[in-house]
């Protein structure tokens, strides 16, 4: 007889097949990390340069420089680049983040030789045509204006300013006027300083073999694009003395909320255990914050907490958008949930649930070539190796409620948190 009230036996996840990246070197010293996996004839190659906003001399330089890499090179105009990639069904993904300028390509393996030939010219001999730059700036201006109408954008910007101080490169301080201050010369100079072989690493994922290595060697292995490495600047954070901030956005019916504090880096002994704690707080659908604030109170469509590990600083952040009438109740409930984690041990049942969930997530993070490459980058960015994941699994399988409560007492004190609310309603009780 079928008993629908009882869950079928759950089998613990014991075996995890972690395909590891294999390190190779091009003749000029560029490290190439191979993640050979997958059944489709697809290859993704990431060219990663230390060329993020950390290194930029003025706002927008890192991202505009990065975007301009597909706007023309010595052998191909912007239109020709677009034409070639479209014809072969290949994609370029350009993204500059806080630390890295990324140039990623995705291509069917059979077209890789052609795609890499164009890619070589784009990366090594970008020409930054003035006309294309103007078009790009106009496009980005409009996007900027649009983004600035969203409470979540306003909130995130203010949050980074409060946490890092406006002079710090991790603070987002872009203004519309900045678009008029960027010159082609600034971008060219940035390009020459940061997009060269001495500042590059490559991650290749998919069906990659020796022939792909040979292609990379032929196109990128030479001494022809080595330039002087710029000394890395260092910036100290300078957080705002006030913990609560409000950003005015007229007529909004919802407000965005960001609450956060500085966090331990990936190599800290508490990092993994804290990941479990942050998951319990707000890192999955069954988390405390989702259960209380969405599933019991209905104040929001979604709320979550996660750790953002950047190269030089890490922080924990809680994000949500709530109806204006729910701002104060939401902030109160967040504090209550932190206090609960500090004073009541997590039940065996909940701990079991979150451990199983995270093990499942771990399997997903190592499933398929792109996921494998992402998991590798997440350690490689921090000069860590795969023992990071072994340690994580060890902590995940062995962590106790007592340990979590101790960590909550140390790391989850509501009074340590910075709170930013963006919206039309000023929560007067909270200043």
């Amino acid at each position: 007889m079928l008993n629908r009230k009882i869950q079928p036996t759950v089998h613990p996840i014991e075996h995890i097949d972690m395909v590891q990246a294999e390190k190779r070197l091009l003749s000029n010293g560029i490290p190439v990390y191979f993640v050979n996996a997958g059944s489709q004839d697809v290859v993704k190659i990431d060219f990663i340069f230390e060329a993020g906003t950390w290194f930029q001399p003025a706002n927008l330089v890192a991202s505009l420089c990065n975007s301009m890499l597909e706007e023309g090179s010595s052998n191909f105009s912007a239109a020709e680049i677009g034409e070639k990639f479209d014809f072969y069904g290949a994609y370029i993904q350009l993204m500059a983040d806080q630390n890295y300028g990324n140039f990623n390509i995705i291509s069917l393996g059979k077209y890789l030789p052609t795609i890499l030939e164009i890619t070589e010219n784009m990366i090594k001999h970008s020409v930054f045509p003035q006309y294309e730059l103007e078009v790009l700036i106009d496009k980005n201006k409009q996007k900027f204006l649009l983004e600035n109408q969203k409470v979540k954008t306003l909130c995130q910007k203010k949050f980074t300013q409060v946490m890092f101080g406006e002079a710090h490169p991790y603070a987002i301080t872009n203004k519309i006027e900045d678009f008029d201050q960027v010159s082609r010369e600034m971008l060219v100079e940035f390009y020459q300083s940061f997009y060269h072989s001495g500042n590059c690493r490559i991650i290749a994922a998919g069906q990659v073999d020796e022939s792909v290595l040979a292609l990379l060697e032929a196109h990128f292995g030479g001494a022809d694009w080595q330039r002087n490495t710029i000394e890395t600047p260092y910036y100290e954070v300078s957080p705002d003395p006030h913990k609560f901030h409000h950003v005015e956005k007229a007529n909004g019916i919802q407000s965005a909320v960001r609450m956060g504090k500085f966090w331990v880096p990936k190599n800290h002994p508490d990092y993994h255990a804290l990941s479990v704690l942050v998951t319990i707080l707000g890192g999955y659908f069954g988390s405390r914050l989702m259960t209380n604030i969405r599933e019991e109170k209905g104040y929001t469509y979604g709320i979550g907490s996660f750790v953002l590990s950047l190269k030089h600083v890490s922080y924990l952040i809680i994000t949500t958008e709530v109806g204006n009438e729910y701002i104060e109740p939401t902030l109160n409930e967040i504090a209550i949930e932190m206090k609960r984690l500090q004073t009541e041990p997590v039940s065996e049942n909940e701990l079991e649930t979150v451990k199983s969930y995270l093990l499942g997530e771990f399997l997903r993070d190592f499933d398929g070539p792109f996921a494998l490459a992402g998991s590798f980058k997440a350690i490689n960015d921090f000069d860590l190796d795969y023992s990071f994941y072994d340690n994580y699994l060890h902590v995940l399988r062995n962590i106790t409620s007592e340990e979590l409560m101790r960590l909550a007492q140390q790391y989850l004190n509501p009074e340590d948190f910075y709170t930013v609310v963006a919206g039309s309603t000023f929560p007067t009780n909270l200043t």
């Binding site: 079928l2 629908r4 009230k5 869950q7 079928p8 036996t9 759950v10 089998h11 996840i13 995890i16 997958g38 059944s39 697809v42 597909e70 912007a78 239109a79 680049i81 677009g82 034409e83 990639f85 479209d86 014809f87 072969y88 069904g89 290949a90 069917l108 103007e134 078009v135 106009d138 496009k139 409009q142 204006l145 649009l146 600035n148 109408q149 969203k150 409470v151 007529n251 019916i253 919802q254 999955y284 069954g286 969405r294 019991e296 109170k297 209905g298 104040y299 469509y301 958008e321 109806g323 649930t353 979150v354 199983s356 969930y357 499942g360 997530e361 399997l363 997903r364 499933d367 398929g368």
Partner: protein, 418 residues
């Protein structure tokens, strides 16, 4: 090419299995043939609200999420105009938990009063987050209302207005469930390192006892042919004027659907597409310009949306768009250009087949449309489109009287509000 096997249980549930041995996970997708097109005009947003209620506990299982998480699983769902799709992934050893959960909520929901109350509120906040508090958030609501006068595609999935969600009663929830949630109105797809016989055994055990509910075939009023251009202008607090032009187009099973899709690619897919190259890059008339299909199963919309550059009026913008559309009508696309967009479609299909969950979802939604095997014919359908056919289809679609224009005008900050 995606190999799969298919069977139907006695109660009418279609079961599809795709074996992918490269993943340690398994995806289970349950797709119900019910979407916002099946809603009453005074109770819009119901199919989507219902999707939320499906997570509020079922007849024998008080919580959906917790047991799934205990088995290392993760899940989500979405509602469209056409269907409601629930999907989860699990380590393959724990596949049976997925069957247990999904079958119980197909059997019957808990219909808890508190769940209805809370999820109503959650959906109202979602409504605000996605539409009311979002720049350009009401575009689809306006555009659908303009383009459809009869067909239920005239309202968006989230609903026409918040009051419809506020007024939802438990009786309506129950009626909706028994009218649409049934084995004979659903498809179960399992993808991963599993074999067909084992899945069928599990499906029989867990889904087999659910009664067939004799779901009535839908009868939806068809949209009469549009005979004159429709135009609406709204003023909103947004940074830029934007123009939207929507043309009625063929349904998903019409052979011309694929030609229509390729037209949108010729016009705006990628940096070498016509509209991007000519109007964004060369003429600098737009900072953003896109052409895309609504992707509905029944006759949908071909939409062009554009943000004109500073100093370009919406009227000038519209003329420029019409000029590109006219070119599609007057000249055949070159063989090279056609080859290019077909290559891209083919590559995209290859990319999409890298992921077992993607494959499960595609099999399920195609089976709801008509036949899961459609996904394996796609490449041939696209490959067989000719430049003559593209021209013909462009002539059929891009007619002034077939068009609905939405002028979305930015409120100027210097204007004083009355």
């Amino acid at each position: 090419m995606i190999h799969f096997e298919r069977t139907k249980l006695a109660n009418g549930l279609t079961v599809i299995v795709h074996q992918d041995k490269t993943t340690p996970m398994v995806a289970i997708d349950v797709c119900y043939n019910v979407g916002s097109r099946d809603e009453h005009p005074d109770r819009t947003g119901f199919a989507h609200l219902f999707e939320h209620l499906m997570f509020g506990g079922s007849k024998h299982i008080p919580s959906y999420d917790e047991p799934l998480q205990k088995a290392g699983g993760d899940n989500n769902a979405f509602t469209s105009n056409d269907l409601t799709n629930y999907y989860l992934t699990l380590p393959k050893n724990n596949i049976e938990t997925g069957f247990w959960l999904e079958s119980d909520r197909m059997l019957e929901l808990a219909f808890s009063k508190s769940s209805l109350e809370v999820q109503r509120n959650v959906v109202i906040e979602e409504f605000k987050q996605r539409t009311l508090n979002q720049p350009y958030g009401d575009v689809w609501a306006l555009l659908r209302q303009l383009a459809y006068k009869v067909h239920p595609y005239q309202w968006p999935t989230i609903g026409r207005e918040i009051s419809h969600i506020e007024k939802a009663t438990m009786q309506q929830v129950k009626d909706f469930f028994f009218a649409h949630y049934a084995p004979d109105n659903a498809v179960l797809v399992v993808a991963g390192d599993v074999d067909f016989d084992k899945v069928v055994t599990l499906a029989d055990r867990w889904f087999g006892p659910i009664p067939n509910r004799a779901v009535k075939p839908r009868s939806i009023p068809q949209e009469p042919e549009q005979t004159e251009i429709r135009e609406q202008s709204v003023v909103r607090d947004v940074p830029n004027d934007t123009i939207y032009m929507a043309y009625h187009m063929p349904d998903r099973l019409d052979p011309n659907y694929y030609a229509t899709d390729l037209i949108s690619d010729v016009l705006s897919n990628g940096n070498s597409s016509r509209m991007y190259l000519n109007l964004v890059q060369k003429e600098k008339m737009f900072t953003e310009l896109d052409a895309y299909l609504s992707g509905d199963n029944e006759p949908g919309l071909f939409v062009v949306s554009g943000k004109p550059s500073n100093g370009i009026s919406l009227e000038t913008a519209r003329k420029a768009i019409e000029k590109e559309l006219d070119r599609m009508k007057q000249e055949r696309v070159s063989e090279y250009e056609l080859e290019k967009v077909k290559n891209k479609v083919e590559a995209n299909i290859e990319y999409s087949e890298m992921n077992y969950l993607n494959k499960a979802m595609n099999l399920a939604t195609n089976e709801i449309l008509q036949d899961a095997d459609l996904i394996n014919s796609q490449v041939d359908f696209y490959r067989s489109v000719t430049s003559a056919q593209i021209q013909e289809v462009a002539q059929q679609i891009f007619r002034t009287e077939n068009c609905s224009v939405l002028n979305y005008i930015a409120k100027k900050s210097e204007h004083v509000e009355s």
